[in-house]
């Protein structure tokens, strides 16, 4: 209703000729102003702001309503319709309120039932807690009793330990007064130690396995260095071990001493060694020189000078002036029907840088009358030193023709290879036997 009144007031305020807004849809309850006849004076027709304390006020002196522009009957009908609608809404609200009240009642009942269950559960939990509390009290009581027992046991052990510590202290005092101090001490009796061994001396240095030991079962004192015995004091006198030397004095080339190398006893002066082999031989180290007295020279009684078994024999004042002899032989026969060379003897010789005289010899044959057998000598399979193809007349059943030759070769240090080959020229069986090579180093003056 207030809305409608405000609308009417608004229409009254509008200037003449303007259209008023309809406040309802459908029937015109406030008709166009053109149906009104009114005069608007110069004074403002409306005062106030329309708010509490400042209500809108229509100045009657300013507005004069004439005619029947307001449809009162329609307004009443609208008001009635609005009222009926409001009543229906109020009735609907009342019905909704009743429904809500019912729902609330049902929820209240459910809540009451749940609160009752909660109360019952709370009672049960309280009972359980009480039972657990009682059990916990019993356990605490047991723990307290056990603690008391343990304390008693510990007290007993403590007493025992104290007694033992006291005994240990007394024993330590005794030990300190009777044992050797590692930091240094004076021993009033014998110091007896294990015999030890060559590799683990009884008395040894801190840094290496060198020291003194006592060979088991004999009155010996051994001295070893780096796990090996070098020297021993024995009832028969001092002994020097194999490969050890006993130097009397001197350093480097000026040392002189005695010792053993392998199974040889050695007298050493500087780098010169005299070695005694067994009881009847002696030898001098290589590169040493035997000098006579200038009158009688050097004499070897009823014997000879042997090589060292390596195939080389050096004689002379120095290596450069020496003669080196190396030899190879194949005495057995080699037969062939080959018309190309086959090998009879192959030998390899170790040589030093220098000049060498190579000599060879063999015996050649062919079992067919007037047929040829060839032989050939090669150096390093490349240089042919000699080649011949003699024919044979069978004066006897096995005629052999001696063949030989020589060659001078200059070579660098290393090895040289010599071959002697044979073949037949065309027919028969060729034969080569008693093949020999001799290689000797020479100095060409």
């Amino acid at each position: 209703m207030n809305t409608i009144k405000a609308a009417i007031l608004a229409l009254l305020w509008l200037a003449p000729g303007a259209l008023a807004q309809s406040i309802t849809s459908g029937v015109c309850s406030v008709c166009p102003v053109s149906q009104f006849s009114g005069v608007i004076a110069d004074n403002p027709p409306i005062a106030g702001n329309g708010t509490p304390g400042s209500p809108l006020f229509l100045d009657p002196s300013s507005v004069t309503l004439q005619g029947n522009g307001v449809n009162i009957a329609q307004l009443e009908a609208d008001f009635l319709a609005l009222e009926i609608s409001a009543d229906a809404q109020f009735a609907q609200i009342a019905a909704g309120t009743t429904t809500i009240a019912g729902d609330l009642s049902a929820h209240e009942a459910a809540a009451d039932a749940q609160f009752t269950q909660i109360a019952a559960d709370t009672t049960t939990i309280a009972g359980d807690l009480s039972a657990h509390e009682a059990a916990a009290d019993a356990q605490f009581t047991q723990i307290a009793a056990d603690t008391t027992t343990i304390a008693g046991v510990l007290s007993a052990h403590e007493a025992t330990a104290d007694a033992q510590f006291t005994q240990i202290a007394a024993d330590t005092t005794t030990l300190n007064s009777t044992k050797v101090n590692r930091a240094g001490d004076t021993i009033t009796g014998q110091l007896r130690i294990q015999n030890g061994s060559e590799a683990a001396p009884s008395i040894r240095s801190m840094s290496g396995n060198s020291g003194m030991y006592f060979p088991v079962g004999a009155a010996h004192i051994g001295f070893s260095q780096n796990d090996t015995e070098d020297f021993r004091i024995s009832p028969g006198g001092p002994q020097i071990s194999n490969n050890a030397f006993y130097y009397f004095s001197g350093i480097g080339n000026f040392q002189y001493g005695i010792g053993r190398v392998g199974n040889e006893s050695v007298i050493r002066v500087g780098s010169f060694n005299v070695l005694f082999v067994g009881n009847s031989q002696f030898r001098l180290t290589r590169n040493t020189v035997i000098t006579g007295d200038g009158t009688t020279g050097l004499t070897v009684n009823s014997g000879k000078i042997n090589g060292d078994g390596s195939g080389l024999f050096n004689v002379g004042a120095s290596t450069a002036a020496s003669i080196t002899i190396s030899s190879a032989a194949s005495d057995g026969a080699t037969l062939t029907t080959s018309t190309t060379y086959v090998e009879k003897l192959s030998s390899t010789h170790t040589v030093e840088t220098g000049t060498y005289l190579i000599t060879w010899s063999a015996e050649l044959s062919n079992n067919a009358n007037n047929r040829q057998t060839c032989y050939r000598v090669q150096l390093n399979d490349t240089d042919t030193l000699a080649e011949a193809c003699p024919a044979f007349q069978l004066i006897t059943s096995t005629p052999y023709l001696p063949v030989s030759g020589s060659y001078v070769a200059t070579t660098a240090a290393g090895t040289i290879n010599l071959n002697m080959d044979l073949r037949i020229e065309s027919t028969g069986t060729g034969e080569l036997r008693r093949s020999r090579f001799i290689v000797q180093k020479v100095v060409i003056q």
Partner: protein
């Protein structure tokens, strides 16, 4: 060249062995040459190509009787 080596301590007659191979029943008779080494006591038969097992057996018999 295929080489067949036989142990042979006694001096063989290589000419006779050459002729025996030539008249033998060996299918392959292409002999290269023969070589006997007294020191090694071995007889080498140098054939120009490989022998069949049958020929090899025949050759072994000839070498043993040479």
């Amino acid at each position: 060249m295929s080489i067949y080596t036989f142990s042979k301590s006694a001096r063989p007659d290589l000419q006779a062995l050459t002729e025996a191979i030539a008249v033998s029943s060996m299918a392959n008779k292409n002999l290269g040459f023969l070589r006997w080494d007294e020191n090694k006591e071995s007889l080498e038969v140098h054939m120009q190509s490989d022998l069949s097992p049958d020929d090899e057996a025949i050759l072994a018999g000839l070498a043993a009787n040479s």
